[in-house]
């Protein structure tokens, strides 16, 4: 039988300015004193499961892949184009599956298309996805059609094949918002570690998307066509890591969950893998194997980033300290958030 909390215990907890150690890691901020109601959360964690970080990862991968595909198309790198187009379609499919799994029923997705709401990042995102998806899909379909023997391409198929290029271009232009909006989706909540990250999170996410897509390019495209993928991977990784560093600095106490528990492990893995992948990408040169390894590292790193940030946010919502302390500090500084004309 576990002991249930009594307010006193909470008070005792508040009473000490002890440093908290978790996972053998010394946190940067000494534990602040705060009061809560039996240690219960104030805000509620999002009722989301692995679907959502997976969705964010695959959305980013799809977006990056579409851009790589379009670039490959324009610069006549057919493998890069093909890989990009197919990867974006597969990723897109996975995003839809995860989304619908999260919602429970397909009709619930369509439900969102009944209305367009600018204040709802989810609504905006749905429309962004709806704008991007068909074109990315069409581009991928044309790619598949093109793989058919010449004689079989007739009628609609021929049309699809013909539309491949313009569709791919539109997909590439509509792709970046797909990678970026998920950061707003998270940040536009009262979840402390998400909301406090709102300035840098979009950069972390697009960086992560670029790194993942670039990594995929490294992994699946022969070195002779993989140059842009490599550059994208490295650029993405650098952006992600720099933005993440900046983000943590600006988050104050709400950065703590990024270092603790599952989230901490994921974020550490993400950093290591991303750095490794980036260095590998830079050094891999013409080595196919090195490309594959670095690509896989970058992709996994991106997965870890999304899951890490997702978990950190969930943890920050479950511990009242991340809600109370920043707000209490604001008040104690005499700077409550108030509307001023």
């Amino acid at each position: 039988m576990t002991e249930l909390k009594r307010p006193e215990q909470d008070a005792r907890r508040r009473g000490r300015g002890r440093r908290r150690k978790r996972d053998g890691e010394q946190s940067m901020v000494p534990e602040a004193e705060f009061t809560s109601y039996y240690g219960r959360p104030i805000v509620k964690p999002a009722p989301w499961e692995a679907d959502i970080p997976a969705y964010m990862f695959f959305g980013g991968l799809a977006a990056g892949s579409s851009m790589l595909a379009a670039g490959g198309d324009l610069t006549e790198r057919p493998t890069l184009r093909r890989v990009g187009r197919v990867a974006s379609l597969l990723s897109l499919t996975v995003t839809l599956v995860t989304l619908i799994h999260d919602l429970g029923r397909p009709s619930r997705f369509l439900n969102m298309l009944r209305t367009m709401k600018l204040t709802s990042p989810m609504s905006v995102g749905t429309w962004i996805l709806s704008a991007y998806g068909p074109f990315a899909g069409l581009a991928a379909v044309s790619e598949l059609v093109d793989m058919l023997p010449e004689g079989n391409r007739r009628g609609v198929l021929r049309l699809a094949s013909a539309l491949g290029k313009p569709a791919g271009m539109v997909a590439a232009v509509t792709a970046p918002p797909v990678a970026a909006y998920t950061a707003v989706l998270l940040a536009d909540t009262a979840t402390p570690s998400w909301h406090e990250a709102y300035r840098e999170l979009p950069f972390v996410f697009v960086g992560s998307a670029a790194a993942a897509a670039g990594g995929l390019g490294l992994l699946a495209v022969p070195p002779e066509e993989a140059g842009p993928a490599r550059r994208m991977a490295v650029g993405g990784a650098v952006l992600e890591m720099a933005a993440e560093q900046q983000m943590e600095r600006s988050m104050g106490i709400t950065a703590e969950p990024l270092h603790q528990g599952t989230a901490g492990r994921l974020m550490r893995a993400s950093k290591a893998l991303t750095a490794l992948g980036a260095v590998g990408a830079l050094l891999s040169g013409r080595s196919r194997l090195a490309g594959i390894v670095s690509g896989a590292a970058l992709i996994t790193g991106s997965v870890c980033t999304r899951f890490g940030i997702f978990h950190a946010g969930q943890e920050s919502a479950k511990d009242p300290r991340y809600t109370v302390v920043p707000q209490r500090e604001r008040l104690d500084r005499g700077q409550p958030i108030r509307y001023e004309d």
């Binding site: 039988m1 576990t2 002991e3 249930l4 909390k5 009594r6 006193e8």
Partner: protein, 879 residues
């Protein structure tokens, strides 16, 4: 009060908003304490010491309302010279017989009236029949005018006796006994006295924290003494009021479900003492005595007429013989023990769940398991209907479902919203309520059940020539029925309004409803089911159904519902005016004498003969109502005075005395007499008591803690109306035990974990709630831990748990036979209790260690004192 009467408590909050100071005296910190200015934690079971301390504070500081006291109370009355106070006999009053543990009360009487007291045998019978309860509206009966000393100097006047009796109840003593700091105690004293007098009044509101004790009646008595001393009775904003429990529990005392009363507080006749109507009626009205009971014959005969109608005639004593008679103790606890002993065959249980709600749950269930048949009418299948298949005794093997021979008839009852009728609430106010919806399925009202049960029995017996069937066959059993409702035709619901009309009473010849009990006749020409309710149907109008908003009438709101007697809202309100009939103060004006009109008038219906002036003095030899003088507000009392000292009617003494609870870890600090010597005790092996001093210290230490029980807002009593409902069950889903952090540390209890509480009767488990709301007290220089348990759980419903009442044995107050279920001693242990037969072994182990079956002595006063007390009675006998 916030816990158990939250809706009523809004008025306390309202008063607080207007500046009233709220003090809460309670063993633990409750929702009420949370709203109070001061919470005074007190050791449970010590309120007489506490209140006695206040009495002493008032008397020694002469803070009483002297004018009121002199005119309206018996302060000046002189008591018999034979009387000896408990102060002198080590806690016993004069006249005690240690064998029967009863008093010969002749020495308690007023001077020159010694003969009106009871012999010790008489008192014994009184206890058996809980006859003090019959005195609810009676008061003492007395002929003539006992001597008075208006200067209050006579050593044997009530005032001086009172002073001597309470002199040792000092603040230091209160601190020692109750564990209340002197400072807190004095705060209460100041508040009470400062808010009493000509311009201000204090109301005393109590409930079952004061009643469920082996000295429960004397608790209330102490409160009443204070209210009289301070002039708070019969005046607006004053009084002493019980916050009653179940809806219409007041109604079920007025028209009683009690074994020793008939409607309107007419005592149930006794088989040997009341062989005929005359002897019974005379017992009530005491020919030659003063007061309003002199008309009891009219009330009694009208009642008999309402039962047996035309069959009741002057020739056959109005069928007086048909009334069942008392032969002794037929109280609920005695009856349960009789069930265990196989003396009771069948039992009706309506709206009660004794398997959970009554003390000594195990005895209750074993008793019911030994019946031939049991009828339970309830809203749910409560524990009292399912005991044979899922009680703790089934677990221990004491009841075997396959062998339990009790045939249980569980009949579905309609709830209060599914039937019409009245509720009588705590202010004696009847409020009519309409049926909101038809009951579902076979659910029916109680009225339906009894009407049709009676109808069927009469049909079965029709044509019988057996004498014993006459009472049933001669009943006036013709009630109009509704043509709509859950059933119709032969099985229709009877009209509750017709029943109310019969209760009100009417003239037989014209069927004209009576407007007042003064219209009742002793010649059989009137019918009336309950004389105090007469007027509720005045002018043929259901007065209880009146709903005039408060904003459209005076602040007394006489046109909302109807209060007995005669729609009077404050009893004895003559006392709200001074002896000359003028209001004590403008602020507190309520009822006064209008000189010009030559009558009493005011905001309420005056509780006095309308035209009897303040100056009226009784002529020599006057009897009955005529003997009540113009300055005698307490008109149901034999002397018209408020009784500070009670010469008649109480079994345990004319003055409240602090006795320890029957189970207590402490020696009585005031007297050698430990606990109430006259308490009703059933000493049997299945009713063991935890030892108390003067038993050996080791034995007492087996149960070192004190526990008390009460209610949660979220649940209702035995749980039949809350544990079966989702919305309430989820709010308090589990049986729990509240302990202080100190006790938790001492016994290794963990918040949210399990613990169990053990007494000589059983062990009961619950989750631990460690809380600062319970505090250890320093009593007699020792620290005492108090534990608190709610008593709402049982084996049925959506949330189940152990029943707290399994912890209690059966010990009763001698006056009204209420059980001591607010205090006991116990042990508390971490973890869950043993289950199955091991539970009994575990408890037996405790019983053995504590030698709980050995029957500790009840009379513990000094032997010389006992002898001397008895000698007083013997002297009386010889005289």
């Amino acid at each position: 009060m916030a816990e158990a009467h939250p809706v009523g408590f809004q008025w306390v909050m309202e008063a607080k908003k207007r500046g009233a100071k709220v003090i809460h005296v309670d063993p633990r910190f409750t929702r009420t304490s949370a709203m109070a200015h001061t919470h005074v934690p007190i050791r449970v079971g010590t309120d007489i010491a506490f209140l006695g301390g206040i009495v002493n504070y008032v008397l020694s500081g002469e803070l009483d309302f002297r004018e009121y006291l002199l005119a309206y109370t018996n302060a000046a009355t002189i008591v018999s010279e034979d009387y000896v106070d408990a102060e002198e006999f080590d806690g016993l009053f004069s006249g005690f017989d240690p064998d029967t543990r009863t008093y010969d009360t002749r020495s308690w009487q007023y001077a020159q009236q010694e003969h009106t007291g009871n012999s010790e045998a008489g008192t014994h019978q009184q206890r058996e029949t809980a006859s003090s309860m019959q005195h609810e509206t009676h008061g003492a009966q007395m002929p003539g005018f006992p001597p008075r000393d208006e200067t209050l100097q006579h050593p044997n006047c009530v005032y001086q006796i009172l002073k001597r009796h309470f002199a040792r109840y000092t603040p230091e003593m209160v601190e020692r006994i109750c564990g209340v700091s002197q400072e807190a105690f004095l705060e209460v004293c100041h508040a009470w006295t400062e808010n009493s007098g000509r311009d201000r009044t204090t109301a005393l509101v109590y409930s079952v924290g004061w009643t469920q004790h082996s000295v429960g009646v004397q608790y209330i008595r102490t409160g009443a003494i204070l209210q009289l001393l301070l002039g708070n009775m019969g005046r607006p904003g004053g009084g002493i009021m019980a916050l009653r429990g179940h809806a219409s529990i007041q109604g079920s005392t007025d028209i009683p479900t009690l074994y020793n009363l008939l409607p309107g507080y007419l005592p149930m006749p006794h088989a040997t003492d009341h062989p005929d109507l005359q002897s019974w009626v005379d017992k009530v009205r005491q020919p030659g005595a003063k007061g309003f009971w002199s008309n009891a014959d009219a009330f009694a005969i009208s009642l008999l007429k309402s039962y047996w109608g035309d069959a009741a005639t002057a020739e056959n004593d109005y069928c007086f013989d048909y009334i069942p008679k008392l032969t002794g103790d037929h109280g609920t606890y005695r009856t349960v023990l009789d069930m265990i002993d196989g003396k009771v065959k069948g039992y009706f249980l309506l709206g009660q769940n004794p398997a959970v709600g009554s003390a000594h749950g195990r005895a209750q269930r074993l008793g019911m398991a030994n019946l031939d048949w049991l009828v339970v009418r309830d809203l749910f299948e409560i524990e009292s209907a399912s005991f044979w298949k899922n009680s703790p005794e089934v677990e221990t093997g004491e009841i075997v479902p396959e062998e339990c021979a009790t045939e249980v008839f569980l009949l579905p009852a309609a709830s209060h919203v599914e039937k019409e009728g009245t509720f009588t609430q705590t202010q004696r106010m009847l409020q009519w309520r309409e049926k909101a919806l038809d009951p579902r399925g076979d659910c029916r009202s109680e009225l339906w059940f009894f009407y049709h049960l009676g109808r069927l029995l009469r049909e079965r017996l029709a044509g019988s020539t057996e004498e014993r069937d006459r009472p049933l066959l001669d009943l006036a059993w013709d009630y109009p029925v509704h043509d709509s409702g859950p059933a119709s035709g032969e099985w229709a619901e009877p009209s509750a309004e017709a029943v109310l009309m019969e209760i009100n009473g009417y003239e037989v010849a014209t069927r004209r409803p009576l407007s007042s009990f003064n219209e009742m006749k002793a010649d059989g020409s009137t019918v009336g089911g309950c004389w105090i309710y007469t007027g509720v149907f005045a002018d043929g109008v259901n007065q209880a159904a009146r709903r005039k908003p408060g904003s459209e009438q005076s602040w007394v709101a006489p046109e909302w519902g109807w209060a007995w007697p005669a729609n009077r809202r404050i009893l004895y309100n003559r006392a709200s005016a001074d002896p000359d009939g003028k209001p004590w103060s403008e602020r507190k004006a309520y009822v006064w004498w209008d000189e010009e009109a030559g009558q009493w008038t005011g905001h309420d219906v005056p509780d006095f003969e309308k035209t009897k002036p303040p100056s009226y003095r009784a002529p020599e030899g006057a009897e009955g109502v005529k003997a009540i003088e113009g300055v005698d507000p307490f008109i149901m009392q034999g002397d018209g005075k408020g009784a500070l000292y009670v010469p008649q009617g109480l079994i345990d003494g004319p003055l409240p005395t602090h006795y320890e609870p029957v189970e207590s870890p402490f020696r009585n600090a005031l007297y050698g007499q430990q606990a109430n010597p006259t308490r009703k005790q059933y000493s049997r092996d299945d009713n063991p008591l935890n030892p108390s001093p003067p038993s050996s210290e080791e034995a007492v230490a087996v149960f070192p803690y004190i526990f008390t029980t009460s209610r949660l807002t979220e649940h209702h009593t035995a749980g039949g109306m809350s544990r079966y409902l989702q919305y309430l069950s989820e709010l308090q889903p589990e049986m729990f035990v509240e302990v202080s952090p100190e006790l938790a540390a001492e016994r290794g209890l963990v918040n949210g974990g399990w613990c169990h509480v053990v007494t000589a009767r059983s062990a009961v488990e619950g989750r631990v709630l460690v809380t600062d709301r319970l505090r250890p007290l320093r009593v007699e220089g020792r620290v005492v831990h108090q534990v608190w348990l709610p008593y709402h759980w049982g084996t049925g419903g959506m949330v189940t748990g152990d029943s707290t009442n399994d912890l209690f044995g059966i010990t009763l107050d001698p006056n009204v036979l209420i059980q001591e279920s607010k205090v006991g001693t116990c042990d508390v242990r971490p973890g869950r209790r043993p289950t199955g037969p091991a539970l009994r072994e575990y408890v037996e182990g405790y019983v053995e260690r504590a030698q709980a079956n050995d029957g500790a002595p009840v009379v513990t006063a000094d032997a010389d004192a006992v002898r001397a007390s008895q000698a007083v009675a013997d002297r009386g006998e010889q005289a």
